[in-house]
């Protein structure tokens, strides 16, 4: 399964955020979209998840045009966790996760036995099973982020888009989130496309990286081929070295020391 955008122009009102973009995401991979603030990363993600209409170009899911899908039909194959998401604080975890079944229901239907099984599965897969009777405001930041991942998992998507899934988490929960993402891809076969700011994480967890600069694709490829001192200089305007450490599979980024 693959989702692709061709000749995409996306923007708000007159302003074009994405000026020209061809990109393909495979469900077998974890893909990270990186780029400076305002480069248009989240905009790409919104256009591909039917949250934002694009000005021109075409998005296809296995060859079929996004415009030919109803919103619900799309939501059964492609799920997205926006960066900012709120729920009434007294909603119970289990209840919230259950909303992921909406794309499968008519407006009057409620969760049946089959739905409950999938909800159970999603809560176990994300490690929030123990929290199921708690309300959202009783969950920590890391827990609530996993509850939201469980919610989008109950959509049973083939490709899952995540907008900066680690931004508000401390380092332990960031790593935990990356582990979860990796497991969802390797064990459950769900394609992951995420916007990430932390390049070390992108380097470590991704199979493929797309770099966006000024509304255009700067480069794409395997992490080690893409994340180079040259790219860092041209895209972010920072000096760094990409260093290999014996015993580690992925290199790390060492930034130039900060001087006063």
């Amino acid at each position: 399964m693959e989702i692709s955008g061709k000749g995409l122009q996306i923007g708000y009102g007159e302003h074009l955020v994405i000026k020209e973009l061809d990109v393909t995401f495979l469900s077998t991979r974890i893909t990270s979209i990186i780029g400076p603030n305002g480069s248009g990363k989240s905009t790409v993600l919104k256009a591909m998840t039917k949250l934002l209409p694009y000005k021109s170009g075409v998005v296809r899911l296995d060859g079929r045009n996004l415009a030919d899908y109803s919103s619900k039909e799309w939501a059964r194959s492609v799920a997205v966790l926006p960066q900012i998401h709120t729920a009434p604080p007294d909603f119970k975890v289990r209840e919230l996760v259950g909303y992921g079944r909406l794309p499968y229901q008519k407006w009057y239907e409620k969760n049946g036995e089959e739905d409950e099984k999938i909800i159970d599965w999603a809560m176990k897969a994300t490690g929030v099973w123990e929290l199921r009777e708690k309300s959202i405001n009783q969950c920590s930041g890391g827990e609530s982020q996993r509850v939201w991942i469980a919610t989008v998992l109950t959509q049973q998507p083939e490709i899952l888009f995540l907008d900066e899934p680690t931004t508000y988490l401390d380092i332990a929960h960031q790593l935990e989130m990356m582990q979860l993402v990796k497991r969802l891809n390797r064990e459950n076969g769900i394609g992951i496309v995420m916007v990430l700011h932390d390049l070390s994480q992108a380097l470590e967890v991704s199979d493929w990286i797309v770099v966006i600069k000024d509304g255009k694709k700067y480069d794409e490829g395997r992490p080690e081929d893409v994340i180079t001192p040259k790219m860092m200089k041209e895209v972010y305007d920072v000096e760094c070295e990409v260093v290999r450490i014996p015993g580690r599979a992925t290199p790390i980024i060492a930034f130039k020391e900060i001087s006063a």
């Binding site: 998840t49 926006p82 900012i84 009434p88 909603f91 119970k92 959509q155």
Partner: protein, 338 residues
């Protein structure tokens, strides 16, 4: 194994809240039938009802107090339901039917008829309903821009409410000698309502309240925020418009029978949220019941507190609702469902 409710609050808690409200409503109904300018004991009422003979007690209780009691209950249910639904539509705990122009629209139409076309006074309910619907439609049309966004609805509402308000004020200034009817309408009253009002309003309230039950899932989904709801395949703008329509219908229907009664739609959903949480599966039914209790209480107080005169239920609601509103604002962090 005891299974707790899947939603915001346990089945036990929901059960007790509903039970208490039902008992309160029953007691209050009994009180409302017995008290008034002529006070009766329950015993004498029962005797008069079962004797089968015509009597003053029978006339007063059956023809005056009973229809009024039923109206108070239905209006309370309708207004609190309208408010509860709107609060999810706007994702704003301060939304009420006034926000989408129902009050200003109905008020404008009623004032115009009462002051400029007094020979058509009988048609005030009809025009008030049309006025409410038109104002609401106008606000949504102004707010529409490839979809409806709550902030734009609220801001269009503020603008249109202020224009209509100015028109009303001007009209009242120019006709300051004949404001009796206008004042009665603006302050919402159940005085002198009869079975004919019950039969007409009963149909509207029945339709609206049944429709509102179909809004529960939509209202819950809107609480998750626009992006999440959209990503789950929900057409957010269509849901907003449909829910608003049900809410406006209910609120406008109450205006035609009782004039403008404020604060029920705002305050009752809040207390309900405090009692059973923000899941509309529980919150909406509790709002209905609590709305009935609150409005019946306000009307009963209004017609008994000052011997020899009636204080319109709208005034009682505003006087008691205002302070509660302030209290709520101070506690808002805990109260808000959003």
């Amino acid at each position: 194994m005891k299974r707790t409710g899947k939603s915001g609050v346990s089945a036990l808690r929901m059960g007790s809240v509903v039970m208490i409200l039902l008992i309160a409503l029953a007691l209050l109904s009994l009180i409302a039938l017995t008290v008034g300018s002529a006070g009766y004991t329950i015993k004498s009422i029962a005797a008069a009802l079962f004797s089968g003979e015509e009597s003053t007690i029978r006339t007063i209780v059956v023809n005056l107090r009973l229809p009024r009691l039923i109206l108070a209950i239905l209006i309370g249910m309708s207004l609190s339901t309208a408010g509860a639904i709107l609060q999810s539509v706007m994702r704003n705990p301060l939304a009420d039917p006034g926000t989408i122009g129902v009050s200003a629209g109905a008020g404008t139409a009623a004032t115009t008829i009462l002051l400029l076309f007094p020979h058509m006074t009988n048609a005030v309910p009809l025009f008030a309903f049309a006025g409410a619907a038109l104002a609401c439609l106008l606000i949504y049309t102004m707010a529409w821009k490839g979809g409806v966004d709550p902030t734009r609805i609220i801001l269009s509402g503020v603008a249109i409410n202020s224009v209509l308000g100015a028109y009303n004020a001007l009209l009242q200034m120019l006709h300051s000698d004949s404001l009796q009817g206008v004042l009665a309408f603006m302050n919402g009253s159940l005085s002198g309502r009869s079975w004919s009002h019950v039969s007409v309003f009963g149909i509207y309230a029945g339709i609206g309240l049944v429709l509102s039950l179909f809004c529960i899932k939509g209202a819950n989904t809107l609480q998750l925020g626009d992006e999440v709801a959209k990503s789950l395949g929900v057409n957010v703008s269509v849901t907003r418009v449909l829910l608003s329509a049900v809410s406006a219908f209910l609120a406008a229907a109450t205006v035609t029978v009782a004039g403008m009664i404020g604060f029920v739609g705002l305050v009752v959903p809040h207390i309900s949220r405090l009692l059973v949480g923000s899941d509309y599966k529980q919150m909406l039914p509790v709002s209905m019941l609590l709305g009935a209790v609150v409005l019946l209480l306000a009307d009963t107080i209004g017609r008994t507190i000052a011997p020899g005169m009636e204080i319109p239920v709208g005034i009682v609601m505003s006087v008691t609702g205002g302070p509660f509103f302030l209290y709520m604002l101070r506690k808002r962090g805990k109260v808000s469902g959003n």
